[in-house]
């Protein structure tokens, strides 16, 4: 019963995708649209195969940037939240600036960063700026969501601050932290792409976003689509991986990871 339902849930988006691609190809062929206006899916796929050496190298660059930004965001976000949790003064002093950093559009910050930092560093910093805030705010929320009676129990048994943090607050915050990381994964890709495009217009760079900008100037539309496709797939894979990790870590106890029974 439920497995056939799962199958339908999996099948429907696949059918929609196939129909969309077929329609796209049909429209392009029937109207004889030129590839530099709108390439059909087959042309995009051919370009993907033909340009694979260039594109795969760019994909590697973008993924590495994303990963570095993500790791920096994960460490920075969790560490800042822990600091804020230990000292209210620190939280009051710094939290507004974390918000300001978050609400200022990164595309507007990127050119400035590129002036002051080396390009590779600037790109990573961009990815970090976009991605750290959800980790920070989710971790803060998690650390503050500890069951009141459990906290009482810890104080009854004379737990130290460190013990309370390690055995109570961090495990209680884990689902929130993982939720923040899931958002941060996608965002660090966006941050990397935004910074690459900003850097690309300055004339340097070799990531996927740079390829898109470069192909745009050369009216190499099929390659733009191919690079875009790779970016999409990369985003999906990042999200899927983080969701999987989250599920594996929480599956024994957290509501979000439990299969619906009854």
């Amino acid at each position: 019963m439920s497995s056939s339902r799962d199958f339908v849930r999996f099948l429907l988006p696949v059918v929609v995708l196939a129909a969309g691609i077929a329609l796209w190809e049909l429209v392009v062929r029937v109207n004889d649209i030129q590839p530099y206006v709108l390439p059909g899916p087959s042309a995009v796929f051919q370009t993907l195969v033909a340009d694979w050496p260039v594109l795969s190298e760019s994909l590697g660059v973008t993924l590495l940037t994303t990963l570095e930004g993500f790791v920096a965001a994960a460490i920075g976000g969790v560490a800042l939240a822990l600091l804020f949790n230990q000292s209210k003064w620190l939280e009051y002093s710094l939290f507004p600036y974390a918000v300001i950093l978050q609400v200022t559009p990164v595309i507007a910050i990127a050119p400035l960063l590129l002036i002051y930092l080396q390009q590779q560093t600037a790109v990573i910093v961009c990815a970090w700026i976009v991605a750290f805030f959800p980790v920070l705010s989710n971790t803060t929320l998690g650390l503050n969501s500890v069951d009141r009676n459990l906290a009482g129990l810890f104080s009854l048994y004379g737990a130290s601050r460190l013990q309370t943090l390690r055995y109570l607050k961090l495990p209680a915050a884990l689902p929130y932290i993982l939720g923040g990381l899931r958002i941060a994964g996608g965002l660090s890709l966006i941050g990397a792409v935004v910074a690459e495009i900003a850097a690309g217009t300055a004339g340097a760079g070799s990531g996927l976003a740079f390829r898109i900008a470069e192909s745009g100037y050369r009216l190499n539309i099929p390659r733009m689509f191919a690079a875009l496709l790779l970016l999409s797939v990369a985003g999906i894979v990042i999200y899927g991986l983080l969701a999987l990790i989250s599920h594996l870590v929480l599956r024994r106890w957290h509501e979000s990871a439990l299969r619906k029974e009854n």
Partner: protein, 266 residues
């Protein structure tokens, strides 16, 4: 009030002297409250919700501080004791959902820094006491409400406390489960020689369990009546059906009525 004998058995486990608790928002929750509990005694604090009985329990546990008055809790010297002289069972099972049953029970010992081998022995002993040995590796979500409460009880017992404080622990359970846990609790109390202070709003539960029922009135909470339940031990399920049980319940219920009439404004 205290008997003439000054032997160890008659010493006080808990002694509250004119204790009051006023919350920051100005609400007087408690007192002045005077309460003496003998070592080894089973006392119930009975009263309507919001009468301050839970506050009294939290004061004894040291989870909150009194606004005035003295809270005395005896600390019997015992060199084999690693952990805590007070065990606390909350209204909710209050288990860590990310930890297995045995790791939940292990918590007080881990916080006290007890070596793992000694702790393992204590944990299996505590789990055996509440008949949950087979569920040591289970997670809280896999257990029924009554079993979770047993885990909570095992965690309180694992430090071998002198004083067990229980805050309406069985209020959320169905009646059959509650009766069974009542009997189990009485058996543990007899076996382990603990002082138990049991907060409840159930007249029937308080009469069934306790040697002494302390009825509290509300706002601010104070002692309005006290009843001694002089039924020969051990009490068994038959006691629930007896005429004397019904008589005690009637008597205590009547004493409780003024406590509730004071709440009509609430």
């Amino acid at each position: 009030m205290a008997g003439p004998a000054l032997s160890e058995a008659d010493a006080m486990a808990v002694s509250l002297g004119a204790v009051t608790k006023v919350y920051d928002n100005g609400v007087a929750a408690l007192g002045p409250l005077d309460l003496d509990v003998r070592r080894g005694e089973f006392v119930s604090l009975l009263g309507p919700s919001g009468c301050g009985k839970s506050t009294a329990l939290r004061l004894i546990a040291g989870l909150t501080t009194p606004s005035s008055g003295v809270v005395g809790v005896s600390q019997r010297a015992n060199e084999t004791r690693a952990g805590h002289a007070i065990g606390f069972v909350f209204q909710e099972p209050t288990l860590m959902p990310w930890a297995s049953v045995q790791d939940n029970v292990r918590l007080p010992l881990k916080l006290a820094g007890m070596p793992a081998t000694e702790a393992d022995r204590r944990i299996s002993e505590a789990l055996a006491q509440v008949a949950l040995s087979e569920f040591a590796a289970a997670y809280p979500r896999e257990l029924s409400g009554g079993m979770k409460m047993r885990v909570s009880l095992a965690r309180a017992l694992v430090t071998r406390p002198d004083i067990l404080l229980m805050d309406e622990p069985f209020a959320a359970l169905d009646e059959i489960t509650r009766f069974r846990l009542n009997n189990d609790l009485l058996e543990l109390w007899r076996k382990l020689n603990m002082t138990v202070i049991f907060v409840t709003h159930s007249v029937f539960e308080s009469v069934y369990l306790s040697q002494r029922v302390v009825v509290m009135s509300s706002r601010p909470g104070r002692v309005s009546a006290e009843f001694r339940i002089d039924t020969p031990e051990p009490r068994v399920e038959d006691f629930r059906m007896s005429a004397s049980y019904a008589a005690y319940c009637r008597e205590v219920s009547q004493a409780l009525v003024p406590s509730y009439s004071g709440l009509t404004s609430a």
